[in-house]
Subunit: 324 residues, 2 copies
DNA sequence: TCATAAACATCGGATTTACTTATGATAAAA
DNA sequence: TTTTATCATAAGTAAATCCGATGTTTATGA
């Protein structure tokens, strides 16, 4: 049996060239080798496959393939074509028109930000595949990222991992969801509804809460610190359910703005006075390793989509001194 | 763009092994290389394709493929599979269960001898292809044979070409075709028809002749030498037409026995007294070059079929002294 | 018939490639 | 901190590969 390791792509190229040119010397010319080299390659190939591949009529007559040579050539053509194709696809990858991006995400990002990004990406590069892996846990996403199972991930800040490159996309404020025609928190003049609600008015009001979400725990802590204790009338993890409950007037809810379906006409969104702490939304990548262009496009689109949907990051002293 | 010549089948095997084993060291073990060799091969492959193919997490963590690596691996799998297949087909070729035999032939052989041979060959080796190239000219068949366009050819002897190996299959006698119920040449007693006709009785008899066939020219010369001049009433090159004309009683014909459809019930076949010179039927092959097993089978079957359908070769003095 | 040309094989030598072994570097795990 | 499991790198050597020159064979043409 033939041992694959003894074969060589150069030998297949030579086989093809000899078949096309009809002579060793001709093949040598197109391959930019000496005739001697082609002769030696041909001999080596024959030795490797254990069959005579070429008829070598003595004297000034053209060489031709034996039956074994024809069989091998057929396969060689396919193999060389596939190598070409592989090269082409790698080129496409480099050009950003092909590739697969596996992205870690969590619910509030999945609702609107991510669909926008993915939609724009696929619009311009139909050859690109995007796979999403959703998780509630920052830590799990970081693990997947570091281990290479995903290429990029949205995270909730702060994150400080030396293995990761962090891009701060912006801040996602917590907002109050109220029914459209609510009369309690909307302010004295229904014609000019308030855009911010004093948080002390929330005391003892009925609330729909997310269950065990870290966001929610942080919010609760903030309210408690201000001496405010909401009254929870329902708990669920389903964002849509929360929104539906609010719509019916069963209670209010406090949610990250990103999670909300802002097209819902029966819902009013209001800020807080004073504002609750905002979540920082991050995009994280491995520091090392290749970054395919499609991924870079994904990152760029994420940044631009965030600038429209998230609050800007607060300016830090360091950032200020960095410019000038 | 990737230069195919820089790629190497060993590198593809290594790529696959690394992907399967999840580590360079593991791949080295299954490939029976040192870890260093695998590392160098991986680096060389990456350089050749111009993309990083492996994620190499520092420390004791498994290596994985990058997107480029996955793309290349997909193609590598196909390429390796095709190499396997090529090896398998070459093995089949060596075993005689696959291959293509291109055979030169001429009409009288094509009628019955060849179908028998081909039928038996395909019965035992369905993977074998047989292609027939028919020509009237011995010289043309020899050219095709020497130039490698055909692998083997039936010829009419004598042939003495130093480039060819000649196998004498047997002798094909010339026979007289008469209508079944002929009353002229069949002899005095219709119940006991003669099997041989004295050639002098052919003088001035009506004959159907083949046009310009070298066989026929030889026959005519023999008859003329004996002072016999047939009367030609029809000439055609179509054997079937000749036989049909004879059947209707339009005339007799002299044909090589091999060309005749002996199953025709309306035709009587008779020898000559004295016999006309017989044609020697040969099988010719190139002296040099590989002979695939399917071809050898073809040769063997041709010899055995000929021994049933042709007269044995006359024993020569040389052949006699050769034995004992 | 003899020289020429066209084809492939082979030899010898230089260069390049591709292993192996040994060692280094890194980070997780113990 | 030490150990362990990774991969990378360096140095040396064995092998492969290529070129140039030359040899062999056969058809062609003078």
């Amino acid at each position: 049996m033939v041992n694959l390791r003894d074969l060589d792509i150069q030998q297949l190229l030579t086989l093809r060239a000899i078949a096309e040119e009809g002579s060793f010397g001709g093949a040598a010319d197109v391959l930019r080798f000496s005739q001697s080299a082609v002769s030696q390659q041909a001999a080596a190939l024959e030795k490797a496959v254990g069959h005579q591949l070429f008829n070598r009529p003595k004297g000034p007559k053209p060489a031709s393939l034996t039956e074994a040579g024809r069989i091998l050539l057929e396969h060689a053509e396919r193999i060389l074509a596939r190598l070409e194709q592989a090269g082409q696809e790698l080129d496409d990858l480099a050009a950003g028109t092909k590739g697969r991006v596996v992205c870690g995400t969590f619910q509030s990002v999945s609702v609107e930000l991510l669909p926008t990004v993915v939609g724009q990406l696929l619009l311009n590069s139909p050859g690109v595949e995007v796979e999403l892996i959703e998780s509630k846990s920052n830590a799990e996403l970081i693990d997947l990222l570091v281990s290479g199972k995903i290429d990029v991930s949205f995270l909730v800040g702060p994150v400080d991992d030396p293995r990761l490159q962090i891009i701060e996309l912006g801040q996602d404020p917590m907002v109050l969801l109220a029914p459209r025609h609510d009369e309690v928190l909307i302010g004295p003049d229904p014609e000019v509804p308030r855009t911010a609600v004093p948080i002390r008015e929330l005391h003892e009001q009925p609330f729909i809460a997310q269950r065990e979400e870290s966001d929610h725990l942080r919010v609760e802590a903030s309210l408690l610190a201000a001496g405010i204790k909401p009254r929870y009338v329902f708990r669920t993890n389903d964002n849509g359910a929360v929104q539906a409950m609010v719509r019916t007037g069963a209670g209010y809810s406090i949610m990250p703005k990103l999670s909300i379906d802002e097209t819902d006409p029966d819902i009013r969104i209001m800020a807080f006075d004073p504002p609750l702490p905002k979540r920082t939304i991050l995009l994280a990548l491995r520091k090392s390793g290749p970054r395919i262009p499609a991924l870079q496009t994904f990152i760029d689109l994420s940044i631009s989509a965030s600038s429209e949907r998230l609050d800007a990051m607060p300016v830090t002293v360091n950032a200020m001194s960095g410019s000038v």
